[in-house]
Point group: C2
Chain length 152, copies 2
Amino acid sequence: MIDLRFPTALQIVLGIQIAEEDGVRCTSQKLADSLGVTASFVRRLLVPLTRDGIVESSLGKRGGVRMARSPKNITLRDIYCCVTDDKRLLTARPDIPCQCVASANIGEFFEGVASEAEALVLDMLARRTVADSVTEIRKLEQMRIGRASAVN
Amino acid sequence: MIDLRFPTALQIVLGIQIAEEDGVRCTSQKLADSLGVTASFVRRLLVPLTRDGIVESSLGKRGGVRMARSPKNITLRDIYCCVTDDKRLLTARPDIPCQCVASANIGEFFEGVASEAEALVLDMLARRTVADSVTEIRKLEQMRIGRASAVN
DNA sequence: ACTAAATGCAAGTATGATGATGGCATTAAC
DNA sequence: GTTAATGCCATCATCATACTTGCATTTAGT
């Protein structure tokens, strides 16, 4: 099964930030609707995001979810690492019997390759902030509106 | 569940190349032993590798598996793409209801991020050939032997 | 011919992380 | 007190991956 935690968390954070900019109160129910899932599911992903100081929430009526710090200071790497725990992008086979030159050293070799791959992706994600991402989303929205009105 | 096809196929190919260099006949059973699985499982991964002209095999007694072309002309990217089909490294959520600015454009936005990540990893894998990898494995083997004898 | 040793392949089982829901106690505004 | 929100736990669902069993086929050697 493919891991959807990162894209889901990303949409949640971007949704919160956009709501904030638009002066709209954001709840887990609204986020859930925009994802097509239940509010409970959203709250589950909100747990690590809150723990890492990315978002924060208030209880009770008129409660909801807000950004916990500036979107300029949150990168996609922060979000990725926050919700995927220690899951590696590439994983070596566990429990390889050390019987030959290949099997005895493949683990160490593969670890090097996997680390390099992961570092490349994480660095790329670290170069994109939530603020940048929202800007890009809004740009895409403008183009979408442009395309839609061109049809008429 | 984590995808082990790439590390498994990698060990298979490196094992075949090492056997070839050492002048030893290689069979799916030997590869299976070095992986701790059945020969049938190895053969299953051999199917795409054969299809892509990376390895080739001969039937019957004294049959076995060989490299189909020079290890200098096979990159880790070739192996990765061969065995992982069209699986993406990062995947967007499917079926997002387009209800707001975020949900309507997140798909396109995420696709850009995912493509960039995948391109980075594939380019890195393309820079490593099977020949290079075997050299590195043998270097690790020397270090391993060095460490082992230093203990005595 | 016969046997041994190999591949090719189809069918099926297992598993476990991920995906997702429901329910309920708690909190806070009005 | 009612309403509307979060926090969190227990649970179910599913599905891609992991792997085995089993057997037909092919080929080499005697």
